[in-house]
């Protein structure tokens, strides 16, 4: 119980900031109409008010759920707790509780994410924090004031044995705890403060799908060496020059981030100054802001983020 109280308090804090989305006059508002008549009898002007007629605004039940991630969530086979982010908005004019459900076993994709779970962004920061954000509890569904919004996270695990580019869909659904139905369906007396509640255009329910996409990034680095001896041959004699070539190849549907090539100068050889190249273009030996340097006996070249590309690093040493 204490836990749910904390949740409600946190939600209450969250709501005012986003209440600009409120649609419609708040449920329970009393609207009055009063006309007046002005007339003249024997040159005397008389003014009289009508009775005041009052109407109470009923509750319109509406909800909107939207997937928030800008792109498919890139995943690797066997990963756990991968997060999809959704936004649940009470687009009605009254306070409503919303029941949530998730289904990851739907069609239109190449694999089914497994072990789906729903979490509420209790602190409203938009980031999933397992220490703060609570799992959705069907016995205590989130309550949103008119126009208020709540970020909802869906976590799934990714099965192993999925292929690069495969997509897996997880669908989140929300429905009003008061009820759902065709627009116009009425729930007498079940709105805020006992007013009638009526289902709006959303039917009192909304669903949204989030997509995971498998990205198996493959990175290979192949090193080769060619020898040129002082006599025009290719014997590894003292004084012979060895040209090392490192070919880095990245394949897959996602980038490999911050790729860095690091290679030790072999013993009994000496690095030949000014021979470091990236894709044939010279790099200085100093650590001076370009992509590479030679410090002591270590050659380093930073290749950055690579996707579906091949990069070639070369340098030369002379056998002592």
């Amino acid at each position: 119980m204490k836990r749910s109280l904390i949740l409600l308090a946190a939600l209450a804090l969250l709501l005012p900031a986003q209440s600009a989305l409120a649609r419609g006059t708040p449920a329970g508002t009393t609207i009055t109409n009063q006309a007046k008549v002005v007339y003249t009898i024997e040159a005397t002007e008389i003014e009289l008010d009508s009775n005041s007629v009052a109407i109470v605004v009923g509750e319109l039940i509406d909800v909107e759920l939207a997937w928030q991630d800008a792109t498919n969530i890139l995943v690797k086979p066997g990963e756990t707790d991968r997060i999809l982010t959704f936004l649940l908005t009470n687009t009605g004019n009254g306070t409503e509780r919303f029941l949530l459900s998730v289904d990851s076993e739907i069609g239109g994709d190449q694999f089914d994410p497994v072990n789906p779970r729903i979490y509420l962004d209790v602190d409203g920061d938009g980031e999933f924090d397992p220490a703060v954000d609570l799992p959705y509890n069907p016995a205590d569904p989130p309550t949103l004031a008119a126009g208020a919004a709540l970020i909802v996270f869906v976590l799934n695990d990714i099965p192993s044995g999925v292929d690069d580019g495969d997509r897996g869909i997880s669908a989140l659904a929300a429905e009003s705890a008061t009820g759902t139905g065709a627009p116009g369906t009425a729930f007498p007396g079940q709105g805020d403060g006992g007013v009638n509640a009526v289902v709006g255009a959303s039917g009192g329910a909304s669903a949204a799908q989030g997509i995971y996409q498998v990205s198996r990034v493959e990175l290979t680095a192949i090193k080769s060496a060619t020898v040129a001896d002082p006599f025009g041959g290719s014997e590894p004699l003292p004084g012979a020059t060895i040209t090392y070539t490192i070919v880095v190849e990245v394949t897959g549907t996602a980038p490999a981030n911050d790729v860095r090539v690091s290679d030790d100068i072999p013993e009994h050889t000496t690095y030949q100054g000014g021979t470091l190249r990236l894709d044939g273009a010279p790099l200085t030996d100093a650590a001076d802001g370009d992509a590479g340097e030679v410090l002591g006996s270590v050659v380093t070249v930073r290749l950055g983020d690579l996707q579906d590309v091949t990069r070639t690093v070369t340098f030369q040493v002379v056998i002592d």
């Binding site: 006059t25 609207i31 009063q34 006309a35 007046k36 008549v37 007339y39 009508s50 009923g58 709006g200």
Partner: protein
């Protein structure tokens, strides 16, 4: 006690002439139109008393007036502010034997819709929208004889 009695007497003296003059009464009703099927199986629109309405609903406000006095009432004018949280529905104001005008400035001035303009912050002006109307005025074009009734109405949509 004596003082209170004196006050009451004073009221009685003031009220008496007013009652004699207060001959025209006005009664306001709020109605919603509901589509039902009659005995012949035909769809008919029935007006019901509006008690609870949801945003987006049109409410029909009907003001019935009656001259209960002995003399004709001249210059009969009915003014109805558009209720809070509601927008006037364009073209919905009706009233026999009345000239209907609207206000967009809280009832200070009234004019026909085509003469109502709004000046934007940048200085340009445009025709006023129906939802910008604040008041409706019905001016009877003829005196209201004793015993005669009349009715004016308009629709407004709940925001």
């Amino acid at each position: 006690m004596k003082k209170a009695l004196t006050v009451l007497f004073t009221f009685a003296i003031i009220i008496a002439p007013l009652v004699a003059f207060a001959a025209v009464e006005i009664t306001s009703q709020a109605l919603v139109e509901v589509e039902t099927v009659d005995e012949k199986g035909e769809k008919v629109v029935v007006r019901e008393k509006a008690t609870r309405v949801i945003p987006g609903t049109d409410v029909v406000f009907v003001n019935a007036y009656l001259n209960k006095g002995q003399e004709a009432a001249d210059n009969v004018v009915i003014v109805n502010p558009i209720p809070e949280h509601m927008d006037y529905v364009e073209g919905s104001a009706l009233g026999e034997e009345t000239a209907i005008t609207f206000s967009i400035n809280g009832g200070q001035q009234f004019d026909a819709p085509q003469n109502l303009t709004v000046t934007e912050p940048d200085g340009t002006s445009r025709p006023a929208k129906a939802e910008e109307y604040t008041h409706i005025r019905w001016q009877r074009t003829s005196p209201l004889p004793p015993g005669q009734t009349g009715e004016v109405e308009f629709r407004a949509r709940l925001r």
